[in-house]
């Protein structure tokens, strides 16, 4: 139970930080996406089923407090989780640069997915959306990538306190 409830509470904490503390930074577009970083960490730590449910919930929380009337993040965060989980054992993700790059690429891909969903479901034309790729998506993804190693380090310390062997990953109950 602890391994589900605690990540949920941490997710709520990150949502609160993202919605209240980070907007106070003078440059809005460089605020990192903490919930995305946490979802990526869940992908490295949790098994697909319980982790997938947690990622789904993270997306659901983001949707609930955003101006997005549909559930874009519920879908995109689940996809991010399963993609990251797929790449977990296949690419080297221990170093600073690899973590930065992985988070940066994931944030860019998720942004593109959101743009496509906005175009498909909310009929916002691409002509209106593509300038955002350079003015907002790139800087924000870069900053998210930059903050990721630090967040991962903190998450690792936190998981060491909570779980016995977090580096081996949490196993599904058998």
């Amino acid at each position: 139970m602890k391994r589900i409830i605690l990540p949920l509470l941490v997710g709520i904490l990150f949502l609160v930080i993202q919605a209240t503390f980070l907007p106070f930074f003078p440059i809005h577009r460089v605020r990192p996406d903490l919930l995305l970083i946490f979802t990526l960490y869940l992908a490295f730590l949790f098994p697909p089923i319980s982790g997938g449910i947690l990622a789904f919930f993270m997306g659901y929380l983001a949707d609930l407090f955003s101006g997005n009337a549909l559930g874009f993040y519920t879908l995109s965060r689940s996809l991010v989780f399963f993609t990251a989980h797929f790449f977990k054992g296949r690419i080297y993700l221990e170093g600073f640069y690899s973590q930065c790059l992985f988070a940066f690429v994931t944030a860019i891909l998720e942004g593109i997915l959101i743009l496509i969903l906005m175009n498909a479901f909310q009929f916002v034309p691409f002509g209106k959306l593509y300038p955002l790729f350079f003015t907002f998506l790139l800087p924000q993804s870069f900053f998210t990538g930059l903050v990721t190693p630090l967040c991962f380090l903190l998450f690792k310390k936190g998981s060491l306190l909570l779980f016995r062997q977090p580096e081996e990953g949490i196993k599904e109950r058998v």
Partner: protein, 294 residues
């Protein structure tokens, strides 16, 4: 019992789970698209659970920010004047506190006057959180269904239009700002009475849509609400035009406006409680109800 045992094909249990999971997210998305009023029970429950944390965090941040602005940056004083400067700092802290109170007082007085001026009933609300994502533009306020707030209600400030209610929980609501891509407000250019729809453009800017090429508009023209949408009273300031472009072909011209309200610095807002016109779906429902009674 293993979770995998629930599946017919053990070998493909994980891919099936992932596909089902993503399908569920898609179904949830389509259900939300059809949703017309407020939010579901579970959504409301989650908003009720999370919003108090946001409210608390906003309070703490504002307090800390105030302290930093008013005091902490001033403590780096020379040692020889420590005692004296401590007193000055104390007095300054008091002074800043009073200034802050004065500013709050002025702001609230302005709000009160604005409320008196406008006949429609409205309630004041405090902004407790911003949109967690940067793609969409919304804020969370500390008033909800229990206070009479409903989906679609207009949200304004003395400086002008802010947006409309998007989601409601019993004690909290999410406001869709007028700069969001999904926001559309019926408007009129004050000087020439040219009609248009104000649509959000994301980055603190809006676009005037369906503005006829024949209509005369210029940079600096003020755009106000037309009152036709039913949610916003007529004559509320939306913003002023910053760019006009007639170069393209077609029936319409392009105009961009900047909102009169600084949407990044929102603290207090007003929710207009009385819809100016009854909404058509409700009328239809009443008619249907009468028919069934007959």
């Amino acid at each position: 019992m293993r979770i995998r045992d629930f599946f017919l094909f053990r070998r493909y249990s994980l891919p099936i789970f992932i596909i089902l999971f993503l399908l569920f997210a898609l179904v949830l998305m389509s259900l939300r698209a059809k949703q017309r009023k407020g939010v579901d029970f579970f959504d409301a429950l989650m908003m009720e659970i999370c919003s108090p944390f946001q409210k608390g965090a906003t309070f703490v941040i504002k307090t800390v920010q105030g302290t930093f602005q008013q005091y902490v940056f001033l403590i780096n004083l020379e040692e020889e004047n420590r005692m004296l400067k401590q007193k000055i700092a104390q007095l300054q802290e008091e002074n800043y506190g009073m200034k802050e109170m004065k500013l709050a007082n002025e702001r609230l007085r302005e709000l009160l006057q604005f409320r008196k001026k406008n006949s429609s009933s409205m309630i004041g609300a405090e902004v407790i959180g911003q949109d967690p994502s940067s793609w969409f533009k919304s804020v969370t306020i500390d008033k909800g269904e229990r206070d009479g707030v409903k989906k679609g209600m207009a949200v304004i400030s003395p400086a002008g239009v802010i947006g409309q209610i998007l989601k409601t929980a019993p004690h909290y609501a999410v406001v869709l700002l007028l700069t969001d891509y999904n926001s559309a407000i019926d408007s009129v250019v004050q000087r020439t009475r040219a009609k248009a729809i104000v649509e959000g453009k994301g980055e603190n800017r809006c676009q005037l849509k369906y503005l006829l090429r024949a209509d005369e508009v210029a940079v600096g023209d003020v755009v106000i609400t037309s009152g036709l949408g039913g949610n916003f009273p007529k004559g509320l300031m939306i913003g002023d035009i910053k760019k006009v472009d007639k170069k393209g072909h077609g029936v319409f011209q392009y105009a961009e406006l900047v909102p009169s309200v600084d949407l990044t610095q929102l603290e207090e807002v007003f929710v207009i409680m009385e819809p100016l016109l009854p909404s058509p779906p409700q009328e239809e429902k009443v008619k249907k109800g009468k028919k069934t009674k007959k």
